[in-house]
Symmetry: C2
Subunit: 456 residues, 2 copies
């Protein structure tokens, strides 16, 4: 099973140190969350898996980490200043403000049922900050609403400094900010979030094939992180739903507790992005409809080394939300199981590479010095494997320790018990989270066992 | 040697894809930088080393990843709203604005030499953003000026959910923002930067010992990252320089190209932070001078399990800048060496775990299919070791490849040449960046050689 309702997840996340509402001691700040000790490991593991798949396992993608603050001209030419907005209406009766397109009863205030609403006005979702000591309109910057633009404006920097040939990609992980009117569904729709975005640059003509290729690559990757194909649905946007520049967009949707919703979008954005940010873009044969750019200082073109053909590269963009990924992993992993004794155990069935704690070492008796000392030795040995977080329990009630590690998804518990001390060679038990089976293994074989478990 | 001037570093960083000025194609945005393909690896390697040292190698520290946006009450009670400011003056003649404490000629405008300056006014360095659809004073949040406050407000969340006993620490890596009047010295003083901060909570009384302990731990760690003790100086702040709440602060200063300057601060902040954020803080015996807090909903106290003694924990804070760390690593690693033939080679002598590219595989002849195919096999094999970024060169001029990898600090180059094809068992050469010595090794031994090189 997976998590059926958000409340179970939210409560487990808070109780066990995965995710807390942010600014909580001061009444919170809507749409922001803090990742606790287990949440940060979970999130980092997901990010590391993506970075490996993009940067280390392939030979056609470079990494980037661009700034969150951006010159406003970036977002003028990207189109965000003009179009990245929701239509808002005010209720003249109760003074509440709402999104016109999300009103529960069309034309009526959601709060007081009045029909005395203002005309809709566009509300831009970008957050802006003043930069420098002078407070005026000329000195503000935007917090990026997506990481993608940082990639586009660095296209030539990366291509030149790394001598890259098209096709190649640039990948980035980082925070982005949107002034969502109604943050909701836990970490699904928030005002501060993290993205993992790839922009894969190609020569015009290769779009259809590459769009399909990347959609399949991304699906395969999500399956490898543990999401079940049964809980994933690909929605191809219809021609009339597409942005004016887009050739094709496929949404990878996951079955969240609130329903199927977007986890990742894979879009063929054609030459709109590099075209928009290019100097003299009206003379470069850009196919997408772009506004003339008199601000940019760089031509975003590429010249084929052999044919000397020059063109503005197109992009395929697989773009996903890290926080949505974390929510999907938690939803998928969550299980409640009725045990033989009638009790219920909650278990998070993460894949080993995703689990926040890799191994818990448990001394069976917390007052037995030899057992505690031996546990500490085993613990130190496992830390040296550098496979991630290893935890040493204070010990005592081993059943309680197993329950806690089931609830946070620790794949393996290693227990040092009285038998460890009695027989030669010294052995420990290894308990599997999913099957609850235990095997006994000489300590001398433990390193190999654990490291091959985490290599597979 | 190390880098003697900033220009060499800045130019190498741009040319080789380490660090670019941000928003560059639109005239830039002062005090912001983008990390290119090599820079992001370098920075991630430094962050991973810190996270390992804090979280995986120790058993008394938990991780956290709190939000950048913060409720303004956090920064009211932390003291930032009142005191986190620089004194600014305006020149009535030329309308420029400057920091009073940094004027080149006291009492005179730095731009036009006029003495007609306004009275100084405090200029708060925090950046604020509007949140939610209504634009008014009640709905703004701050971009955090340091990651530390996110740790303090989560003290009880972490302590409760992980059942932690004092002393223990909470560590965090993340972005912070300051509206610096005069960003300068490359990535040293910027408006958007990344921090690695530890807050180590202890029982009042243990401060002096722990402050010394952490100062030594942090020095040791910087040495392990490759900084030479000759280039590091510890400056103990004098009693009169300390903040009113601080018991002791030691600055770890590095010899940057612009001179010795702060890389990390290790401060004993006493019980000021948890005291300030605590509900009913006037009744808790807080020793530091704190403002009464009627906003917080949580008592930031800890009760000893055995003695039942309740107190507000104190903190030691080792806090360093990631970007400054990167600048120090680059400065330290930079070397220019005159070769036997009179040519100069530039080499970045990074420690292996810090180097952005771990191994470069070079086919000696780019038009020899067998050599190219063999190189690709070796490349795939090395990628499977999962030690980081491996690069496959297109090949051709091997001397040029070596120079490029010297310049980006790749410790090892593996070259597939004609001898590889001629003899059994097939061998490759491994060239060491620092000594330029080459050894020949059977391909069958390559995996072991490389993985033990990166394990040491």
């Amino acid at each position: 099973m997976t998590a059926k309702n958000m409340e179970d997840l939210v409560s487990l996340c808070k109780r066990r140190g995965f995710i807390f509402p942010a600014s909580d001691i001061y009444g919170g700040l809507k749409g922001t969350y803090d990742y606790g000790p287990l949440g940060v490991e979970l999130k980092n593991n997901l990010k590391a898996a993506w970075w490996s798949a993009m940067i280390y396992d392939r030979d056609d993608i470079e990494g980037l980490d661009s700034s969150i603050l951006g010159n406003r001209l970036i977002y003028k030419h990207s189109g965000h200043e003009d179009t990245f907005s929701d239509p808002l209406v005010d209720c003249r009766a109760c003074k509440q403000r709402m999104r016109l397109d999300k009103l529960v009863k069309a034309g009526r205030c959601d709060f007081c049922d009045s029909v005395d609403l203002t005309e809709p006005r566009p509300f831009n979702l970008m957050m802006r900050v003043n930069i420098g000591p002078v407070l005026d309109e000329s000195s503000y910057a935007y917090l990026r609403p997506e990481t993608a633009q940082g990639i586009f404006i660095n296209f030539k920097n990366v291509q030149d400094s790394l001598s890259r040939k098209v096709p190649f990609g640039i990948a980035q992980i980082g925070k982005a900010f949107r002034n969502e009117i109604t943050p909701k569904n836990f970490v699904f729709r928030v005002r501060e979030f993290e993205q993992m975005e790839l922009e894969y640059f190609y020569k015009p003509g290769d779009g259809a094939r590459l769009h399909e290729y990347w959609l399949n690559e991304r699906l395969k990757w999500w399956y490898e992180q543990g999401l079940s194909p049964d809980n994933i649905e690909v929605q191809h946007q219809k021609k009339e739903e597409l942005s004016h520049y887009s050739d094709a967009t496929a949404d990878i949707c996951y079955r969240f507790p609130h329903g199927f919703d977007e986890l990742e979008g894979v879009a063929n954005r054609t030459d709109y992005d590099l075209g928009s940010h290019s100097k003299d873009n009206d003379a470069l044969g850009v196919r997408a409809h772009v506004q003339p750019n008199r601000d940019s200082t760089v031509k975003m073109t590429y010249t084929e080394p052999n044919t000397k053909e020059t063109f503005v590269p197109c992009v395929i963009e697989p773009s996903c939300g890290v926080d949505r990924g974390v929510a999907a992993l938690l939803t998928e992993a969550y299980d409640e199981e009725t045990l033989e004794n009638g009790e219920t155990r909650v278990v998070l069935r993460f894949r080993p590479h995703i689990a926040p704690i890799k191994v818990a070492v448990i001394p069976l008796a917390k007052n037995n010095e030899v057992i505690v000392e031996k546990s500490r030795e085993v613990y130190s040995m496992l830390k040296r494997l550098r496979i991630g977080k290893i935890e040493l329990e204070p010990g005592g009630n081993v059943g309680k320790c197993y329950r806690r590690h089931d609830e946070v998804g620790t794949p393996l518990c290693v227990t040092v018990d009285f038998e460890t001390l009695e027989k030669e060679p010294a052995t420990v038990t290894i308990r599997d989270r999913d099957t609850m089976n235990q095997i006994r293994l000489p300590i001398s074989e433990l390193e190999d066992y654990i490291s091959s478990y985490y290599r597979r």
